[in-house]
Amino acid sequence: MLKYLMARNEDIPPGSSAVYWGFSSIVWFVIGTGLGAFNAAKLAFPDFVTGLEFLSFGHMRQVHVMAVIFGWISMAFGMAMMYITPALGNTKLWSEKLGIWNAFLWNVGLSLGLTVLWWGMNSGREYSDFPWFIDLYILCFMCIPLGINVWMTIIHRKTQGIYTTNWFFAAGTFMISIVLIVGNLPEYFHLTGLTEAYLTWWNAHNILGLWITPVAAAIAYYTIPKVTGNPLYSHRIGHLHFWSVVVFYSTPAAHHLMSAPLPEWLKSFASVEGVLILVPAIAFVSNILMTMQGKWNMFVENLEIRFTVTGCLMAIPLNMQGGFQQTRAINWYIHGTGWIVAHAHLALLGFSTFLEAAAVYLGLQTIMKRKLWSLTLGNIHFWFLLIGFTTYWVSMTIAGLIQGAGKIYEVPYIDVVIAEHPYMIARWLGGSLVFTGNCFWLFNMWMTARAGTVIPQGRMPHELAYER
């Protein structure tokens, strides 16, 4: 793939950059979940690998988070954008060469960023842990070039209208750039105090709300109609989803700081807007599930549909939690507990990962024109991810409720730690299952590239039978 860095744009086969993005994302997924499982082991068994600064929990926790957000999720997004955007515009990607350089610079920048983070160089700001020079790099060499390629491809499309997925891709790449500029102002201009605290969570909330959630949903808007052959149930509900994301999801940042001394009007406003997140959520889920009409057999038979629909179904508890857990009535109980950790994993490892995994499965098979090497390994991947995640989510939710009870009944903290211990072990087992499943996936995709059955011209991957 690196040989194309110096090739002329016309000489690069279409789809090359998507393959580069796709395989990079899977490798980061393996690394990110491996780190997660390792960290979880330390919470269950504190003396597991001890005495080494660079393998201590405090040095590795943020590396796990950044590796999955910017490595796995965002590179899977890049992969989806590199092949879905041109496909929906009935055109070629604006620049394959830019796409390949973008993926290359993404991998280099993220490796550098995670290295300095691991070293302990961090800003002390959650979800924007990188020091400011890495933040600048992410903005200028990772997000903006991706946005340029997506926007130019959409502008040069050969269709009149723009399909739902591409609205989200265009808006998402634009919004993440704005979020990374504004959200890191405290680091660029050394803003302090409550301004820094609030902007930290404004940034964190909007990375989730204006990048990860809408772009993941956009992928489902492509995958489900494409593979089932059904048209999208409602273009108009798609509109409702899009506009309510922009209006309602960009405003509740302050609900992350409900017990901090922020202006009360801001907390109340954020809390109301937080409940309104249910509008885009319900619009999205109903639109996707209605599109499945008459094709529910594919939920069982087709791997990509199974991943996508499972992800959509997980958006239901995700948004029910998300909408209500931030209200004052509930937040006081579960704030800062494992409940939130479970919720964050429901968003990133449940909802969003399942949609992206489907896109990467579908995209890599389509572009490489190779049928998935092994359905068995694909099934193992699916079930390891689902069972591993569910174990994690259930155990952390219970742990969070224990912690919340301990908090309000003023139980000595050590008793909470003791009570949580079995759930910490379950969390580690769940995480390890996810990591193992991903190792199978990487192997399966590698074998698909090398030995998958060739898909004839004009055929979709799901039209061929699985062979293993």
């Binding site: 504190p46 209006v247 901090a260």
Partner: protein, 313 residues
């Protein structure tokens, strides 16, 4: 893009996102920007310094160019005993905190007093300065530049106070950020129910000038904003940092023995392998007492971290 709907759409998009940012960024900035610093915020920014996370002055978070919080019991110029009082020592080259660089951060009243009575604008980074938090008698606190008002020099104050009265709390806060303590220990007792156990939650003006605030969001351990008010024993902290299981068998905190560095307070090399082997024997019931925790050197990283924790009152 020559399609009428998209012109309308992009204008609505600008309106929606712009409106959202007006409400969530511009309007709160008016409120938050008008908050005056409390005495807690002045104390905090003076002991923690300009920046505790990554900065060009301290890129590896090793505690370079950090101020000291000093307990003075004698006047550094005359040597006469005086009422014990805290001074914040900024040696030559140490960057000043937000309130000194941008006195607007302090709020109008404190800014006026700090400039007129406290002479903070005369502080010079290339020479260094000594600051104090003062009150005008009516509970209006302000910052005083003791180098300008009383001629105190950083060297003089450090020499008069002696090592045992010098807290490396700022370098310790960098360690708090670098070692990721804040992933488990929050610095934010919650307004609703944490009063009894973890102490009073911070108030609106308690953060002016602090960076990063590092509230923490994922509490897996006690809140430590007021930890030294609950437990003021340096010995307990030392044992707990070296191996938390020595004092709390069920703790899941990592061991921070590596912050001791290679040698102990007497310059003797610390044999970590031997210590761990003996500790394992103790844990397995083959020894009655655990091995002795070495006393840390006064220039070790753990000294900075313990100074930071003991300063969280």
């Amino acid at each position: 893009m020559n399609f009428r709907e998209y012109k309308i759409g992009s204008r609505f998009f600008a309106l929606a996102l712009g409106g959202s940012m007006t409400i969530t960024l511009f309007m709160p900035s008016l409120d938050i920007g008008s908050v005056s610093a409390t005495d807690i915020a002045m104390d905090k920014q003076l002991w923690a310094g300009h920046e505790s996370g990554f900065s060009l002055e301290d890129p590896l978070l090793l505690g370079w160019h950090k101020p000291y919080k000093v307990l003075l019991k004698a006047d550094p110029k005359t040597g006469q005993p005086m009422e014990p009082t805290y001074a914040y020592v900024y040696e030559k080259g140490t960057p000043f905190p937000g309130g000194i660089l941008h006195p607007d951060n302090l709020g109008a009243a404190a800014k006026k007093l700090s400039i007129e009575k406290g002479h903070i604008l005369e502080a010079n980074k290339n020479v260094g300065a000594v600051f104090m938090v003062k009150s005008d008698g009516q509970k209006q606190y302000y910052i005083e530049n003791a180098s300008a008002t009383m001629g105190w020099t950083p060297e003089g104050v450090l020499k008069t106070a002696g090592d045992e009265n010098i807290a490396h709390a700022a370098a310790g806060k960098s360690l708090f950020v670098r070692e990721g303590c804040w992933w488990c220990h929050t610095l934010l007792p919650e307004q609703t129910q944490d009063w009894q156990v973890f102490g009073a939650p911070p108030m609106l003006g308690d953060f002016n000038g602090e960076s990063p605030t590092a509230f923490g969001s994922d509490r897996k351990a006690p809140d430590i904003l007021h930890v030294a008010s609950r437990n003021a024993s340096k010995e307990w902290m030392m044992l707990h940092f070296f191996n938390p299981r020595l004092v709390q068998p069920h703790s899941i905190m990592p061991r921070f023995d590596y912050l001791w560095g290679p040698v102990d307070a007497n310059g003797k090399k610390i044999d970590f392998a031997k210590w761990r082997a003996e500790y394992n024997e103790y844990r397995d019931g083959k020894r009655i007492t655990p091995p002795e925790v070495p006393m840390y050197a006064s220039n070790s990283e753990i000294r900075n971290l313990i100074d930071f924790v003991m300063n969280l009152k």
